[in-house]
């Protein structure tokens, strides 16, 4: 047990008591929250107060069963996506859904109900979970699935760890024809063209996403690179498997001023024009395709000690392209955006009660913490609420409870599930204190 400073990926740190060990079943007794690799950006994996005992699942990482015929895996919640990919990709399997970083645990993937480049085809990770073993707030242990305690199952998927400690997860890996990706990338000149290109790509490609230069205004607003991909067929793929990339570490914490509008603009310009051809088809390794930022460990140091947040929202299809254009306009005029801005087509809403995606367009942008950040998030949230969209709790640190209630019609069902399974709100986080009024 260690009294320490627990940190989130956005460099927010809070005091807490972290329990670390291999025996998750015994460690999770009488504790308030589980956390995995600490990759959620905001306060969702941080304790509600300094004396709360938080379980780190990282060492509970055993595979308990694997069926090579069906690809079904059952594993402890701390098994990381790094390990899943390393072990199963050479055998022709890959997770049905992967987020933009591999430094996540199975438990974290369920709690955040992560989505990936294939959301328009495969939905979120939770759609592929068959069952979970959980320790509940009353310290009992139950198994839940779509047919066994379905209310608990669906509230846990995307439930930010507030229904219970996820001990084990069973899900099915997908077969892949080769360990390589056939990728098509295309330079796109503005936001309208981007939305049209995403719409054209979705039926043709199982995986799509785009990078946007969100510092551009005027006619070039929303210009960027659209990337679409599929697993390469054996005859297209190189014979040898991809080589593991060298592990680079961002060596120092940059000063706060290092990432500023000028340096961000220069980076964006270089990134955009590096794509010299209008359209490129190529075979790439999965790592740079799925996890480009994982190539540099501790890349969050680039933001300096002030830290950063990621604002990620989804605007429903019904709001139309005009809403996306207006959102981009508002984002660029409010300022604060950094080089990382990602746009993605989402498919239909999943069954997780607080699962983020809904059918429409998701936009994610990193923003350094500044005195203006609360105002920027408020203004963006007001727009998202008016458009009928919502934000992603895994990235969030600044949304106000009133705003979250306004954008989340499923909240009452989530509260009803919490009332049933944890009436005394023993499971809580800094985020649940902020958004749901749990006691600190």
């Amino acid at each position: 047990m260690s009294e320490a400073i627990l940190a989130a990926w956005g460099r927010l740190s809070l005091p807490g008591v972290e329990l670390l060990g291999e025996d998750l079943e015994s460690l999770s007794r009488c504790t308030t929250l589980s956390r995995g690799m600490g990759r959620s950006y905001g306060d969702s994996s941080l304790p509600a107060r300094g004396t709360d005992r938080v379980v780190s699942t990282r060492l509970a990482n055993r595979i308990l069963a694997f069926d090579a015929r069906t690809g079904v895996v059952r594993a402890e919640a701390g098994l990381s996506l790094v390990e899943i990919n390393r072990l199963f990709m050479p055998r022709g399997f890959f997770p049905p859904v992967t987020p933009g970083t591999k430094f996540v645990t199975l438990g974290g993937m369920v709690a955040s109900d992560v989505h990936g480049k294939n959301h328009h085809r495969e939905g979120c990770f939770g759609a592929h979970v068959r069952s979970m073993r959980m320790r509940l707030a009353d310290d009992s242990i139950v198994t839940c699935s779509p047919t066994e305690h379905p209310d608990l199952f669906h509230a846990t998927i995307g439930g930010m760890g507030l229904l219970g400690h996820i001990l084990e997860v069973e899900f099915a890996l997908h077969r892949i024809p080769s360990p390589w990706i056939f990728m098509e990338s295309e330079r796109v000149h503005d936001i309208d063209e981007f939305l049209a290109a995403l719409g054209r790509a979705a039926p043709r490609w199982p995986m799509t996403m785009g990078w946007i230069d969100c510092l551009q205004r005027g006619r070039s607003m929303g210009r960027g690179i659209l990337m679409a991909g599929r697993w390469a067929e054996p005859h297209e793929a190189p014979k040898a498997p991809p080589r593991a990339a060298a592990e680079l570490t961002f060596p120092v914490e940059l000063p706060n001023w290092a990432l500023n509008p000028t340096t961000a603009s220069l980076f964006n310009m270089a990134y955009y024009w590096r794509h010299t051809q209008q359209r490129v088809e190529t075979i790439v390794a999965p790592e740079p395709f799925f996890y480009p930022l994982d190539a540099i460990l501790h890349w969050n140091r680039v933001y300096g000690p002030r830290g950063f947040t990621q604002y990620q929202c989804v605007l429903p299809r019904a709001a139309g392209p005009a809403a996306v254009r207006e959102f981009m306009d508002r984002l660029t005029s409010l300022g604060g955006a950094s080089p990382l801005c990602v746009i993605k087509d989402c498919g239909p809403e999943g069954e997780g009660l607080l699962s983020f995606p809904l059918e429409g367009t998701s936009i994610a942008v990193d923003m350094a913490i500044s005195p203006d950040i609360q105002r920027i998030v408020d203004r963006l949230n007001e727009f998202v609420i008016a458009a009928g969209g919502r934000i992603y709790l895994t990235k969030d640190r600044f949304t106000r409870p009133t705003h979250f209630r306004a954008m989340e019609p499923r909240l009452e069902r989530f509260f009803a599930a919490r009332e049933k399974w944890d009436p005394h709100r023993r499971l809580r986080s800094a985020q649940s204190v902020r958004l749901f009024g749990d006691r600190a």
Binding site: M1, L59, F66, V73
Partner: protein
């Protein structure tokens, strides 16, 4: 290799068992809890390069009368083992040990007497079949009498001494004894302690250990920087050791 890993369900033992299984070595697990052993065996079966069951047997370093039966079970499952890895041990802080004499007795017995007894059982079997590898985890804590690890360190000092003697005596007969001296490694055993500089990860330690086993080295400091750190510590004059907290 056909390897027994005593302590292979957790920490560095788990990491070594995985590394061996992924290399294609046959692994047999020993530990205190049958349920925990079954889960770790399933983990190795999913990871291993070869198909097949991973066997296990309950073996508790506090119960010497179970050692022979567990080794018999391993022999049957592996068709004769040629490698034994011992990572199991007890750890407690100096503060806890000073406050509880019974805990001290247990720790000294497990870490020295009973580990040596287990190694003697294993050593005899290995020599009967012409030799093999015996890899045992000692600690940098045994290299010099130090205030923060006076009791734990003394158990490891005795163990290191025994392992070096085994190497001297039986190397020519085909027994390769590897004494592993890890520095601070971030495992469940050290959870709650503030990691010092150069703290290692179990997977990195496992990589170093398997490499040293293959190269038939007699001594390994891991992470490697600890070889230099302990060289300095061993040469520090006594009046300095009395003053510093290390």
């Amino acid at each position: 290799m056909k390897a027994i890993v005593l302590g292979g369900t957790a920490g560095m033992g788990r990491a070594i068992a995985r590394r061996l299984a992924e290399r294609g070595d046959e692994v047999f697990l020993m530990g205190r809890d049958a349920g925990d052993l079954a889960r770790s065996a399933a983990d190795l079966e999913a990871r291993q390069a070869k198909n097949g069951r991973v066997g296990y047997a309950v073996c508790d370093l506090e119960k010497t009368d179970g050692f022979a039966a567990a080794l018999d079970e391993a022999d049957r499952a592996l068709g004769g083992f040629d490698t034994v890895v011992v990572t199991a041990a007890m750890f407690a802080t100096q503060e806890a040990l000073e406050a509880d004499v019974e805990l001290t007795r247990r720790l000294l017995t497990v870490n020295y007497t009973n580990t040596v007894v287990f190694c003697e059982h294993a050593r005899k079997r290995l020599l009967e079949r012409g030799g093999g590898r015996l890899t045992v985890f000692s600690s940098v804590a045994g290299d010099r009498g130090r205030k923060p690890v006076a009791l734990y360190g003394s158990s490891k000092a005795g163990l290191s001494h025994y392992l070096e003697s085994l190497d001297h005596k039986f190397h020519a007969k085909g027994l390769t004894v590897l004494c592993v001296k890890p520095g601070f490694v971030k495992t469940g055993m050290t959870a709650g302690l503030k990691p010092p500089p150069f703290a290692g990860e179990p997977d990195d330690v496992a990589k170093d250990v398997v490499r040293a086993m293959v190269a038939r080295k007699p001594l390994l400091y891991t992470p490697a920087i600890w070889a230099l750190v302990m060289l300095v510590i061993r040469w520090l004059p006594r009046f300095v050791m009395r003053r510093i907290g290390f």
